[in-house]
């Protein structure tokens, strides 16, 4: 039985070096590009003929738009709708990354700390930029909750900062852990298929069920990631 962790190995496809840094195009990069290409193609095809009464294909991007838009309105208010493209892109990028990773012989870039952590970092920086743009120097009040005496500031502010910086960390760990565990489970069960011979039908059936479950998990994790991003965005806009 092969090592279930092998599926997470990064293989360079086009080696690239720039300024002493290795920015090779890898299998992870390929699936990131595929996530962009597939989502763009899907949207382009579905929105080819736009009609007032939507066709089945047109209603797919519309439903996604309405879904993420409602999510943003519920979690961050109407004011946050100006940042809808960012949140919508996060949702699609994570969802397509998760779903493409479920295809046989594919690579799940959302199971990698660097990719998801990078995305969380982008979201964090985006929130900080919005917070500073909106509140200027008052943004520092984010780390000093209302009603706390100034004497406690040296104690409270570092705690609040750690809490603030742990947000992308928790986002990353949640998504990476879910994706990693799901794929390891699929790989281990798939390893039993050949080992059991005719009895391998059982793990095949079991794996089929797990795949359906994993599709659900992939969408659920994209949803959770987006909801939390909306909440963090709401904190940047409305906090304290």
């Amino acid at each position: 039985m092969s090592n279930p962790m092998e599926q997470f190995n990064i293989q360079p496809i086009i080696p690239i070096k720039a300024g002493g840094y290795d920015i090779s195009f890898t299998n992870s990069s390929l699936f990131m590009v595929l996530a962009v290409v597939v989502s763009a193609l899907l949207f382009a095809v579905c929105l080819r003929k736009r009609t007032i009464v939507p066709s089945l294909s047109q209603s797919v991007p519309e439903a996604l738009y309405e879904f993420v838009s409602n999510l943003l309105k519920e979690n961050a208010g109407m004011e946050a709708l100006r940042y809808f493209p960012f949140i919508f892109t996060i949702f699609l990028f994570v969802a397509f990354g998760n779903l493409l990773g479920l295809l046989p012989y594919s690579f799940t870039f959302t199971s990698h700390v660097a990719a998801v952590g990078g995305l969380s970092l982008i979201a964090l920086l985006f929130n900080i930029c919005i917070g500073i743009k909106k509140k200027k120097w008052g943004y520092w009040r984010t780390f000093m909750p209302n009603g706390i005496p100034m004497a406690l500031a040296p104690l409270i502010m570092p705690i609040e900062m750690i809490s603030f910086l742990s947000k992308p960390f928790s986002l990353t760990v949640r998504l990476v852990a879910n994706m990693t565990v799901g794929h390891i489970m699929l790989k281990i069960i798939a390893g039993f298929v050949l080992a059991l011979g005719v009895g391998g039908v059982v793990p095949v059936l079991f794996n089929s069920c797990i795949v359906v479950f994993e599709i659900f998990i992939a969408l659920l994790q994209a949803f959770i990631y987006t909801v939390l991003s909306c909440i963090y965005l709401s904190d940047a806009i409305h906090s304290h």
């Binding site: 962009v36 919508f88 990078g118």
Partner: protein
């Protein structure tokens, strides 16, 4: 764990930035405006239909109100006409009754006068005949002491009683 191998961190982050911002650009500049545009068009269409529906409803309510007003007016006119007809009918009946009563009274008076005349005539005839018969009887009985004037007076008294 390959996930924790820092060899590919920079590469992954680099390609993540490229892919994510490309996707953000495609979404924000191409696809989201397209979806937003069609959703806005649909919303405008729905709003238009709702507005039209509310206008038609208002028109229908106004028509219904006019219909009720016209119905009430027609009823009032009908009642007025009915009342007028009834009054005219009553007046006509009263007039005809008066005319009939007058005619009957005239006829009655005429009848009474005719009866009176006939009665008087009959009495005269009876008186004349009685006188004739009494005079004939007196003549046949040769009662000379009874004079014709006495007979006349006697019969007249009897008839007048």
């Amino acid at each position: 764990m390959p996930q924790l191998d820092p060899t590919w961190f920079i590469s992954q982050f680099f390609w993540l930035c490229i892919c994510f911002f490309t996707m953000l650009f495609l979404m924000s500049k191409i696809f989201i405006p397209k979806i937003k545009d069609i959703l806005d068009q649909r919303q405008r269409k729905i709003d238009d239909y709702l507005l039209k529906a509310s206008q038609i409803k208002e028109q229908a309510e106004a028509s219904l109100k006019k219909y009720h007003e016209a119905l009430a007016q027609a009823n009032a006119q009908a009642n007025l006409a009915l009342e007028q007809s009834r009054k005219e009918m009553n007046d006509y009946i009263a007039k005809k009754q008066n005319e009939l009563a007058q005619k009957l009274n005239t006829k009655l008076s005429e009848g009474e006068a005719q009866i009176k005349e006939a009665r008087e005539k009959a009495l005269k005839e009876v008186q004349s005949m009685s006188q004739q018969w009494a005079m004939d009887i007196v003549g046949k009985l040769e009662l000379s002491q009874i004079k014709p004037d006495d007979i006349k007076q006697g019969i007249k008294n009897v008839v007048n009683d």
